[in-house]
């Protein structure tokens, strides 16, 4: 019955085998297969010709891909900083044991349990100029409705607002958890030093939250670089690609144009981009903390 016995060892493998098998077949194999497909001219139905780096070369010169990349960056920049700031403020305001604070926390978190389809359905009829809530309000004060979902300058901000509304819950909870972990003594010490509220915030609270802040920014950046459902459902990437992010382009390449090889190449590029950006954020932050 020794713990390191041969039988015990086989038992260990038996316990992990079911998960590992599925994991290898459904996650790791497709990861590798994706790289392989990206070197082929391939359609959705299995026809394949090896073309080396041709797909990647095409991406470099493809203005549609460039626009999608720019849109993706714009969306990320319009979403992540406001989301981080708003949720930090909410967490600071709602870090209380009172009932009303609990109610507001619940309210601000509630949207994040909704699916992307419900969120876009709700926001479509906030933003659409012919029946939306904003249009009704504007009409009531005698203004013209604004075509948020079809004006090329407004579609990306509209997607950003929708996404921020949808995503408040998790970062707020992370900041709240971070605030809970700051020891009370530091605040007492700051009070003894007669530090004002602002000084306390800048010198005590904010530095103590830097890990949470980094986590929020990294998670949200990675998520928004892969934004998909909102754009597909709310604006269909339009008008003429003005709000089409990379993942929506990948979806269209494969399921509307059936160019699977080209689509996988774009997916690999985005994958590398997400990894790189996340890594840079992490390294910049940790270097600054050490320095």
């Amino acid at each position: 019955m020794s713990i390191g016995g041969r039988r015990a060892q086989l038992e260990g493998l038996a316990f992990v085998a079911p998960f590992l098998l599925l994991y290898a077949v459904i996650l790791i194999y497709p990861l590798v297969a994706g790289v392989v497909i990206s070197f082929h001219r391939a359609d959705l139905f299995g026809a394949r010709t090896f073309v080396g780096l041709e797909n990647y070369g095409r991406l470099i010169g493809d203005p549609v891909f460039h626009q999608a990349l720019i849109n993706t960056f714009k969306l990320t920049i319009l979403i992540v900083p406001p989301l981080t700031a708003i949720t930090l403020v909410l967490a600071l305001a709602l870090n209380k044991r009172s009932r009303s604070a609990a109610f507001f926390r619940g309210l601000f978190f509630s949207s994040s349990v909704l699916s992307v389809t419900i969120v876009t359905l709700i926001w479509r009829f906030i933003l659409t100029p012919d029946a939306g809530l904003v249009a009704e309000v504007l009409e009531a004060v005698g203004r013209e409705p604004i075509p948020f979902l079809s004006d090329p300058d407004l579609t990306i901000p509209a997607l950003a607002v929708t996404t921020v509304w949808w995503s408040l819950g998790l970062p707020m909870m992370l900041f709240l958890a971070g605030l809970q972990q700051i020891p009370e003594e530091i605040y007492e010490a700051a009070a003894l030093d007669r530090a004002g509220r602002w000084t306390t915030f800048w010198r005590v609270t904010l530095p103590s939250l830097r890990r949470t802040m980094l986590l929020v920014i990294m998670l949200q950046t990675a998520a928004q670089l892969q934004l998909f459902g909102q754009a597909q459902l709310l604006t269909a990437g339009g008008p003429s690609g003005a709000s089409r992010p990379v993942v929506l382009l990948i979806y269209e390449m494969s399921f509307a144009r059936w160019e699977l090889g080209y689509a996988t190449a774009a997916a690999e590029v985005l994958f590398m981009l997400v990894l790189t950006v996340t890594l840079i954020q992490y390294m910049t932050a940790s270097r600054r903390w050490e320095g």
Binding site: Q9, L27, L170, L174
Partner: protein, 269 residues
Amino acid sequence: MSLGAWIGVGIGAAIMAAPLLWTLLLSLKANAELMRDSGAAFSAPYTLENYRSILQGSSLVQWLLNSVIVSGGTTLGVLTLCSLAGYAFARLEFPFRRTLFAFVLLGLAIPEQAVILPQHQLFAQLGLHNSYPGLILPGLVGPFGVFFMTQYFKAIPKELDEAAMLDGASRFTLFWKVLLPLTLPAQATLGVFTFLASWNSYWWPLISATRSEMFTLTVGLASAQMNYAQTSGLGFLMAQAVFASLPILIVYIIFQKQIVRAMAGASVR
């Protein structure tokens, strides 16, 4: 909290709640009235007509059933696989244990979009599209659950195992009768988290379930939204949105603590 802060929170809460209330109001209005002017939503008469239409044989009920089967199946599968693997990674010695665990953690860095197209190819070859297994299987391979359960099993004192083994219990009895009941809080957290993620997942069911009778609620509502112009009107559409969010809002209200803990935990991985 100061008065200024309360006013700020109040305004924020109003912006947060307005879309939800607007949706609810629209869903309670007759379609014909909204056709003329959606501003009618602000005034009576209100009606439950749209909700009755949903219950009287729209596809929504079938989609709801599909969502329950898929999310339930995924949750059950994840709990089983992750408990078994987590137990072994935390408490048993076997060849390549560390390597295999690192191999699993590697998966945390793989985003959906990097694997979904080859997955679609694979499932086409296996003939699994438009089936429940096809919708469930990709949800079972997330490494987070294994990591989460491994951490939890590690925290249980080893003396328990030794005592049970001295009593002549087999390794599986030990796992099943002694240790598993101790992990119930973790099972609840992971279960609720998995259920939510599966219920709301969009991209995979969108490309895998192409026949209307296999749609999940999330995908079904997307198709209803796309075809909105041809169909039955704004009030009905918004009633569908409310109807579809009810199950998940109920789950949210009951399991609020677990959900918050799971989401926070999932991101501190």
